[in-house]
């Protein structure tokens, strides 16, 4: 293409060739992960401080959470392998694994909702006790971040479908975000399951 067309194209895409776009997007994702880390860290601190209170009761976690965690982990692995396949010039494999990664995240959300339904059927509601309130709140917050990831994944599927190799960086970013969501979920799951009021009191030094 001629110089002015290149200029227009460059300007339209922020004026940089694709590999700088990849690194810019990479930095942008790290920054966003920093923001989300700040968010979830604050939620964790709020949880510990609130579960300190005398009215806090640990709630039994529904078994569905183990299923959803497994699904999220599988999704992470799938996307990681998809990124590798895309770079290794195996487009068909890359596409299949890309789909799998997204579907696993979707299934994760469905199973989380199932877990909610399981809890509400045992009369555990948000207003009941702080443990329950935090359960719904933390799973909802994490779920919203998964949904955001799915939006980015959908765009990646659209952009990477014709030529996964050229868009391998996009798939890699999805994988990175999926690993992040898995790590956050791990922390939240451990928090809800093992930081009981007794542990919270021990942390805060409450007698």
């Amino acid at each position: 293409m001629n110089a002015s067309a290149a200029l227009r194209a460059g300007v339209a895409r922020g004026g940089r060739p694709p590999d700088t776009r990849a690194s810019a997007a990479g930095i942008g994702l790290w920054v966003f992960m920093g923001v989300a880390t700040a968010l979830f860290s604050l939620f964790v601190m709020a949880y510990v401080m609130r579960m300190n209170g005398s009215d806090a009761v640990a709630i039994p976690l529904p078994w569905q959470l183990w299923l959803s965690s497994t699904l999220l982990a599988i999704g992470s692995v799938a996307l990681q392998r998809s990124a590798t396949a895309a770079r290794g010039a195996e487009p068909a494999r890359a596409r299949r694994l890309l789909w799998a990664g997204g579907l696993c995240a979707l299934a994760f959300l469905a199973v989380q909702l199932w877990a909610w339904q399981a809890l509400t059927s045992t009369q555990v509601t948000p207003a009941g006790n702080p443990g329950a309130a935090f359960f719904y709140l933390l799973t909802a917050m994490h779920g919203l971040h998964v949904m955001g990831g799915l939006a980015a994944w959908a765009w990646t599927v659209h952009a990477a479908w014709p030529d996964p190799a050229a868009a391998a960086w996009r798939i890699a970013l999805c994988a990175r975000y999926w690993h992040f969501l898995l790590a956050v979920w791990g922390v939240l799951f451990a928090l809800l399951g093992w930081v009981t009021p007794e542990v919270a009191r021990a942390i805060c030094g409450t007698p």
Binding site: L7, G15, G28, V31, A38, L42, D55, P126
Partner: protein, 583 residues
């Protein structure tokens, strides 16, 4: 759709050009700021002429107070400094064609606009907007007895959540652009202080707004689902509530963990901008540039460990007071360094008293007051009788309302010629300046003394309190009259903006003869893509003023290396090596 209409929409409405987005942010922020000024004038009518205006009853008074505060801090100052100045200046000052994520940038403006619409909608729901004070403390913010506890508070919290999404989208852009898209030769330590101020402020925003999000969402759930994150067992208006076990202090810790960095999110861009204003209009490099950068970074870092100085009398663990008083007074040191460096820049300078310089000097004067009164409030035992009084109101208005706002005006007068290709009218500018500077000083300086007297803040009326002398009521009336005049004078500014954009005196490309990169664009106003076919290459810092042995008293950042004017740390090396590392 007609092609002309489509073109208009793409260029000026759904634009992904950072300059258009910046103007969209600025216009929205200024419009909403004018609403904030009107609200403050309504409050002052009640304070200056108590009981004379029947429609300003106690409920409405508290609604005005709350909406005024939230609008000014969040929807005006934060949006204007980051979304307005940040969007316009960062790509131009670092030599980029645009922000790195232009589509996300466009979205951030529309999401911000949505948050403003939701906020304004709270005026129209039953019960009106929330009257809980901008700090929205539970339990009262969601209980009867506080105006807007039904719908108003919900819309406020939803609006804040939406705003936080917008700020995050914008913030990702500003940070990544500074890290990633600087042109060749533009090292971090060659960026103007305006960029440093906005850059560090953005990092604070990205890490601090999540705390507001957490507290806001949890308060929303307490209000809508009856959870008890912040609500202890309580009896409201004689009715036992269903809440129990929650902690109001937890809200305060979360809120101020955001709230204190927030004031630096407003102040740091102002610090950066005023450094550039003083430097350009005194024709002298900012004194101690690298120390200024470190001071900005240090202030940003320290700002996350001082929050509980807003909570000295909150009933929190009293031993926290020692820690937070100490950190708060430590943060005064880098802040003082900045003040010294601003005034030392004037020393042996060549000072032009243009309108931007007038605003910059007024900033130094008013920020000195605001910053120094902060030392009273940060010192825990001095704070105890002053907390919750007009001393606090005077302090935060001086340091956050007056001083940064003077920088906003100065910055707009300074960069207007670049943005529009025309100069703002100088005479109107000077009238606007004098009324604003002298007026705000006359409003807030005496107000400190009312606080020392013990006059409490957030009082609709002081009727019947014997310890308050009649002279204090007279002072309140005086302050109200001045406030009304200052409020009206802002219309001069708005008029100047509108009229000059259309009919102002045409400006040259670099009317202030500034060295930084944004003034070196091939066209004025800069075209789409900013730099024409070739990105600039930078050979020196942004402050090459008064370099001896040169014809002009400044050297542009992208002037050829032979022109000299290197930053101090590069001067030891030879010419050939001193070009600086590529971005």
């Amino acid at each position: 759709m007609k092609p002309a209409t489509k073109k208009f929409l793409t260029h000026y409405v759904w634009s992904q050009d950072h300059k258009v987005i910046a103007i969209q942010y600025a216009c929205t922020a200024i419009a909403v700021g004018l609403v904030g000024v009107v609200l403050s004038n309504l409050m002052r009518l009640q304070l200056g002429f108590p009981g004379q205006f029947e429609f300003i009853n106690a409920e409405r008074y508290y609604q005005f107070v709350t909406m005024h505060g939230m609008i000014m801090v969040i929807y005006l100052l934060t949006a204007l400094f980051l979304g307005g100045f940040g969007n316009y200046l960062i790509p131009l000052m670092v030599g980029a064609r645009d922000m790195v994520f232009p589509y996300l940038n466009m979205l951030s403006f529309w999401v911000y606009l949505l948050s403003v619409v939701v906020l304004m909608a709270s005026f129209f729901v039953e019960g009106g907007p929330t009257g809980a004070g901008w700090t929205l403390y539970p339990p009262q913010s969601i209980l009867p007895g506080t105006p807007g506890h039904a719908g108003g508070i919900v819309l406020m919290l939803v609006s804040l959540v939406i705003f936080i999404v917008a700020t995050t989208m914008g913030g990702l852009n500003y940070v990544t652009t500074v890290l990633q898209a600087r042109c060749e030769g533009m090292t971090l330590l060659r960026m103007p202080l305006t960029v440093w101020g906005i850059f560090v402020a953005t990092i604070l925003a990205l890490l601090g707004f999540p705390a507001l999000f957490v507290s806001g969402v949890m308060l929303l759930l307490d209000r809508t689902l009856g959870t008890s994150f912040f609500m202890p067992a309580l009896v409201s208006m004689g009715q036992a509530s269903g809440y129990k076990g929650g902690s109001p202090l937890l809200f305060q810790h979360l809120f101020w963990f955001f709230g204190h960095p927030e004031v630096y999110i407003v102040a740091l861009p102002a610090f950066g901008i005023v450094s550039d204003l003083i430097s350009v209009h005194a024709r002298k490099s900012i004194f101690g540039y690298r120390m200024m950068v470190w001071a900005i970074v240090a202030i940003g870092g320290l700002s996350v460990v001082v929050w509980a100085h807003h909570m000295f009398v909150s009933g929190m663990n009293p031993y926290f007071g020692f820690f937070f008083a100490t950190t708060t007074l430590i943060i005064a040191v880098p802040t003082a360094i900045k003040v010294y460096n601003w005034v030392l820049t004037l020393w042996h300078g060549d000072i032009h008293l243009s309108v931007p310089m007038l605003f910059a000097l007024a900033f130094v004067c008013t920020f000195a007051i605001g910053g120094l009164t902060g030392l009273f409030l940060g010192n825990v035992s001095v704070d105890i009788p002053l907390s919750g009084t007009y001393f606090v109101v005077a302090h935060f208005h001086m340091v956050m309302g007056v001083a940064p706002l003077l920088v906003v005006f100065g910055g707009i007068y300074h960069w207007f010629p670049k943005i529009t290709g025309r100069m703002l009218d100088d005479r109107i500018g000077k009238i606007h300046f004098w009324i604003t500077f002298l007026g705000t000083y006359a409003i807030y300086f005496p107000m400190h003394y009312l606080g020392v007297l013990g006059m409490p803040r957030r009082y609709y009326s002081f009727e019947g309190y014997q310890f308050i002398p009649a002279s204090a009521f007279s002072l309140n009336t005086f302050i109200t009259v001045v406030a009304l005049v200052v409020g009206a004078a802002q219309l001069l500014f708005v008029f100047n903006l509108a009229w000059s954009a259309w009919r102002g005196r045409p400006a040259t490309a670099n009317p202030w003869r500034a060295a930084s990169l944004e003034w070196q664009t091939p066209t004025t106003p800069p075209g789409h893509g900013n730099w024409g076919p070739q990105l600039p290459v930078v050979y020196r810092w942004a402050y090459a003023y008064g370099v001896p042995g040169q014809g002009e008293d400044y050297i542009a950042q992208n002037a050829p290396p032979e022109a000299g004017g290197l930053e101090p740390e590069a001067r030891g090396r030879s010419e050939g090596e001193a070009r600086g590392a590529p971005a």
